[in-house]
């Protein structure tokens, strides 16, 4: 692919970013029914959970709930740490420390 064709492709891919992320920015003036407004309040928590869950629970293409799934163990440790400290950065550090220790140990 030459440079021009590549940049054109990048522009088209960026157009999908504009289209999807901007969708209800562009339609912001349309009235949304109250129930939908209410339902959208659940989106952040639900969406984040849907993104995170496979990262922790799926290992090598299948669901893994065993001790050999070090991301799951590190994730559980990070959750416990977060509930004590309520600090995202501390959670990140503790999770990575557990993850790296287990990775090197196995």
């Amino acid at each position: 692919m030459n440079a021009f064709a590549y940049l054109m492709l990048m522009a088209m891919m960026a157009a999908t970013t504009f289209l999807t992320r901007g969708f209800f920015f562009m339609l912001a003036r349309s009235r949304m029914p109250a129930w939908l407004q209410h339902a959208l309040g659940y989106v952040p928590a639900v969406a984040l959970a849907a993104i995170v869950a496979p990262d922790l629970l799926v290992s090598g293409g299948s669901v893994s709930l065993s001790w050999t799934n070090i991301k799951l163990i590190a994730g559980v440790a990070a959750i416990a740490f977060f509930l004590r400290t309520r600090h995202v950065l501390a959670t990140l550090v503790s999770g990575m420390v557990v993850f790296t220790a287990l990775r090197l140990a196995m």
């Binding site: 590549y6 940049l7 492709l9 990048m10 522009a11 088209m12 891919m13 960026a14 157009a15 999908t16 970013t17 504009f18 289209l19 999807t20 992320r21 901007g22 969708f23 209800f24 920015f25 562009m26 339609l27 912001a28 949304m32 939908l36 407004q37 209410h38 339902a39 959208l40 309040g41 659940y42 989106v43 952040p44 928590a45 639900v46 969406a47 984040l48 959970a49 849907a50 993104i51 995170v52 869950a53 496979p54 990262d55 629970l57 799926v58 669901v63 991301k71 590190a74 994730g75 990070a78 959750i79 977060f82 509930l83 995202v88 959670t91 990140l92 999770g95 990575m96 993850f99 790296t100």
Partner: protein
């Protein structure tokens, strides 16, 4: 919020700083995550300048990673663009959470700000400005910009580091897991009542079960299913004589 007799511009400036401060806690994870994405771009066969162009122009990590093998394999343009569109589809739902707060702006500015409404922005913004603050725009644009632009900078700097260090840092270190941990730390405080917990559990189960569905569309199914579960739980727990469960 703030007792200062500040005029509009000052309030937006304060809100901007608040947005940057809010985003700061997620910054190390964003940097690490961007770095991993940048590394993968180069390790999969893009040249350094191709990887930089993609990062700066497309600005959508998961869509970039999905399109990557197709580009390297020389797939037809329409397949690549359609894949990108499908992987980005979840952002349509995210835009419905944040977009309506900016109905008062000119459409060109809404188009511009929409581009920056990435995962983290969508997660933070409604915590400060929930749906019932719609139509009260004070402080929102400043806060949004603080979140959105610091997210952009952290992601781009991380990506550039990853692109330039692609050959130095082994992927076996699993640095990208830092991104997962940040999202994890952001999810838990959002679980404020039984209905949200139900939604989170159902969305997680569907998302894990649907992991084989192509183009990350399982994510969209999981979000819709999770919201449905939350609404059902909501209805069951909010009968007139039930206790108020929101904490």
């Amino acid at each position: 919020m703030n007792p200062l007799p500040a005029d509009q511009a000052d309030r937006e400036k304060i809100a901007l700083r608040d947005g940057i401060r809010t985003c700061a806690q997620a910054m190390p994870g964003l940097l690490a995550w961007g770095a991993v994405t940048g590394m993968v771009l180069v390790q999969s066969g893009l040249s350094i300048w191709q990887a930089i162009a993609m990062t700066l122009i497309v600005y959508a990590g998961s869509a970039q990673l999905a399109a990557l093998p197709l580009i390297v394999a020389g797939a037809p343009i329409w397949v690549i663009v359609l894949t990108t569109l499908l992987v980005n589809f979840r952002f349509v739902i995210f835009s419905a959470v944040v977009g309506p707060h900016f109905a008062h702006l000119h459409w060109t500015r809404r188009l511009w700000y929409g581009y920056f409404n990435a995962d983290l922005v969508m997660a933070f913004f409604p915590q400060r400005f929930p749906a019932h603050t719609m139509g009260k725009p004070v402080g929102k644009l400043g806060y949004f910009k603080g979140l959105a632009y610091s997210t952009w900078w952290a992601w781009e700097i991380g990506s550039l580091i990853g692109i330039l260090l692609a050959s130095q840092i082994p992927t076996s270190w699993g640095i990208g897991f830092a991104g997962t941990l940040v999202l994890l730390g952001m999810t838990i405080p959002l679980i404020v009542n039984v209905a949200t917990l139900a939604g989170v559990v159902v969305a997680s189960v569907i998302s894990v079960a649907a992991v084989g569905i192509p183009y990350k569309l399982g994510l969209v199914v999981a979000i819709v299913g999770g919201i449905a579960a939350a609404l059902v739980a909501d209805r069951m727990s909010s009968s007139p004589d039930a206790e108020e469960r929101a904490s």
